[in-house]
């Protein structure tokens, strides 16, 4: 117990430890990474034997977390928003089976796409799975929600989805921690087979149970301390906020609210306070970070039309994260004088580090592909090496979702593209590339797959990479011919050799894997800091 300065991510991690966590399961992804890292580094977590190693991807993470909960213990499963797409199969079906020990799934959404390919709002997926959701407005609430959440999960028998966004994950504030709870003992669900074996006959029962449970979930929301009604005199407008939008609203009313406000932190939407707000106020403004999820849901919510304002009627922008200023504008607040950004200020995009091995890979590859002007296509993937899209390289054509480079190259090759090349990172390869490689092997598709191996998960801060030291054997095991698994060291002095290997493997009309291998210089620096 005590006061600490915590990132939202750290508050979640400490709360889980304090709540008797037995295991955290995760694959790194901004802005969720620091939750798992905090637990990995906590001495307390080691003493309690809390399981915390990185998983191969979000799906394996969630399935293992579900297994731990099946055995009665409390588990946390963390990912960035797009990670939930990868884990969606387990996610949807864990809502059917339910859990035994408490399970909290954390999705860290990234509106405004600070470090992501899209800004999907995973409350949509939470609603899709029909499980209870929590959305904190501040770090203390994030702590409390996790600290008390495992009981809620165990009481209802369902996993919870905790949804945070970048500004919650990566913002620091003081948090008061609480008494430590004991970890759960090993135990099994009594009706386990009637819940976890989702054969159609059982699944139908489980779906009825899930539908029935909605009433319980709504009742929980109606008594939740995270759903709060603030009355105020001016009833021309009522305001609903979710998550951190409440803070931007409060920022605009330092002396207290003028209009009634319903602050929502727990879903499904609580019916009674919404009815109260709708009955009291002429119009409703919805402030939510992300998609207009609540706004859309409210349309028919009470079985009558409401006059709604929010992201759908352009009172707020449809895309991007909220700010105190965009909320102020929506409330008709006057604009404070401000300076413009001087025109001379130029963009400073991120770039591959000087000395990074990915640079050498792209330089050699660009040289080789000069022999195939216009016909060569390089499909890439997600990681530091995606920066090969930028000058001076301009080497790649795509970056869609983890693993897509191999399979897109395959499809393109089948459409007639030659040479069809793929550039993928080592961690991305084990995350979602291996299955696509097996597809290629099974059809002997003519693709050249470059696994640019820096022996780490660099983009997200240098976490361990699941296949380090075993990439060649994995590829051979999946059926790539031994002589077409080629390793090289990406350094300037090796350019001739690198180019030679690339030319030979492009010429080969089958699956080849080229592995340029050199450790990430940032990760090396952290492991062996130079002493001055």
């Amino acid at each position: 117990m005590g006061k600490h300065l915590f990132l939202g991510d750290e508050a979640i991690a400490q709360a889980a430890i304090d709540a008797g966590l037995s295991g955290v399961y995760a694959y790194p992804g901004t802005p969720s990474t620091e939750i798992t890292e905090y637990i990995q580094n906590a001495t307390e977590a080691k003493e309690k034997n809390i399981r915390s190693k990185w998983c191969v991807n979000e799906k394996t993470a969630m399935e293992a977390a579900l297994g731990m909960c099946y055995a009665g213990k409390r588990a946390l499963c963390c990912m960035k928003h797009v990670g939930l797409n990868v884990a969606a199969d387990c996610f949807m079906n864990a809502a059917m089976s339910g859990v035994h020990g408490g399970l909290i799934i954390v999705t860290a959404d990234d509106p405004s796409m600070h470090s992501s390919q899209n800004e999907q709002d995973n409350r949509v997926l939470g609603n899709f799975a029909m499980i209870p959701m929590l959305e904190p407005s501040c770090q203390q609430e994030a702590y409390d929600m996790v600290y008390n959440g495992f009981e809620l999960s165990e009481k209802t028998g369902y996993p919870l989805l905790l949804r945070i966004t970048t500004r919650m994950a990566h913002s620091r504030a003081t948090v008061e921690t609480r008494r430590k709870k004991e970890q759960n003992r090993l135990s099994f669900p009594q009706d386990g087979k009637q819940r976890f074996i989702l054969l159609p006959g059982i699944a139908r029962q489980r779906f009825k149970a899930l539908l029935k449970a909605q009433e319980t979930f709504t009742r929980e929301s109606e008594v939740s301390p995270y759903n709060v009604y603030f009355d105020a005199p001016d009833k021309r407008l009522g305001i609903i906020t979710t998550g951190i939008a409440f803070n931007y609203l409060s920022e605009n009313y330092p002396e207290g609210f003028e209009h009634p406000v319903l602050k929502i932190g727990q879903y499904p939407l609580p019916r009674k306070p919404i009815e109260r707000l709708a009955n009291a106020c002429g119009e409703i403004l919805v402030l939510e970070e992300g998609f207009p999820v609540v706004e859309e849901q409210l349309k028919g919510f009470l079985g009558r039309g409401l006059i709604l304002h929010g992201r759908l009627d352009q009172t707020l922008p449809r895309d991007g994260e909220l700010t105190p200023d965009s909320v102020g504008r929506a409330l008709g607040k006057s604009i404070v004088a401000y300076y413009d950004v001087p025109e001379i200020v130029k963009q400073r995009p991120p770039a591959l580090c000087a000395g990074c091995g990915h640079r050498d890979v792209y330089e050699a590859l660009n040289e080789v592909l000069k022999s195939y002007p216009d016909t060569a296509k390089v499909f890439s993937d997600i990681g530091c090496y995606t920066l090969g899209a930028l000058p001076p390289f301009h080497s790649i054509e795509s970056c869609i979702d983890m693993g897509a480079s191999i399979t897109m190259a395959k499809g393109a090759a089948e459409a007639g593209v030659f040479p069809a090349i793929c550039v993928i990172g080592d961690s991305t390869f084990t995350h979602s590339g291996m299955t696509g490689l097996l597809d290629c092997v099974n059809e002997q598709t003519p693709v050249t797959i470059i696994i640019s191996d820096n022996e780490t998960t660099a983009m997200t801060g240098g976490q361990n990479s699941a296949g380090t030291g075993r990439l060649e054997s994995i590829c051979r095991g999946l059926g790539v011919a031994e002589e077409h698994v080629r390793v090289m060291i990406p350094l300037k002095k090796n350019y001739e050799e690198m180019k030679g290997i690339l030319r030979e493997e492009i010429a080969y009309k089958g699956v080849s894997v080229v592995i340029p291998r050199r450790a990430c210089i940032q990760t090396l620096k952290r492991k062996h800091p130079v002493r001055k």
Binding site: T30, S171, N247, P324, V336, V341, Q347, P349
Partner: protein
């Protein structure tokens, strides 16, 4: 008391250490604090910033509203200009004077200085030089923080405590060096402040 400040720089320059020291000082002072950081993609040599808010009353938003920051503290001069919309009309810009050149179209240094001169209250210092004169280029960030101490709204002594806490684990000598750096920055700011 309320101080909103934006820390700005280029990924890898270490603005988060500065934020951590101020955070410790604020905690010791019993202030409320919120600090929004940017992690991830932008750390690879791109522009980075952190919103730091200190107050003796509870703070609502993690982000600073436009036109309300008392201070922009930057480790790079062009980066100090990027966040001007958040600065109060009479706010301070405290920045390192030497450009970080990792883009091909960086403006002429004279243009950057001219933009800085247009602002009512600035301190531009070559903190790297000051740090080297102290014997270690590594303490440049602490010099920079020192230069901002007159504008933070927290007692100088508290910032010293923050420095001690953050560097404690690295030994007595490192703590002393950083305290010297802090002092050198504060002195230089007093000498070079405009107005």
């Amino acid at each position: 008391m309320k101080t909103d400040l934006i820390l700005a720089g280029v990924g890898g320059q270490g603005i988060l250490t500065i934020a951590a020291i101020i955070g410790q000082a604020a905690l010791l002072e019993g202030l409320y604090m919120k600090q929004a950081e940017v992690h991830g993609m932008s750390q690879r040599g791109g522009d980075v910033q952190s919103n730091l808010r200190l107050s003796d009353r509870p703070i609502a938003s993690d982000l600073i509203p436009r036109g309300q920051a008392e201070l922009i503290l930057a480790l790079e001069p062009m980066e100090s200009l990027r966040y001007l919309p958040f600065l109060k009309q009479d706010g301070w810009v405290v920045t390192h004077s030497q450009p970080y050149l990792n883009i091909p179209n960086y403006p002429a240094p004279e243009q950057v200085n001219e933009e800085l001169r247009k602002l009512p209250r600035t301190v531009a210092l070559d903190v790297e030089k000051i740090a080297k004169d102290l014997g270690s280029a590594q303490v440049a960030n602490t010099v920079m923080l020192g230069a901002a101490t007159p504008f933070l709204g927290i007692g100088y002594h508290r910032i010293e405590n923050g420095v001690e806490r953050i560097f404690r684990g690295k030994g007595e000598a490192i703590v002393r060096l950083n305290l010297q750096a802090l002092r050198a920055g504060a002195d230089a700011a007093q000498a070079h402040r405009n107005p």
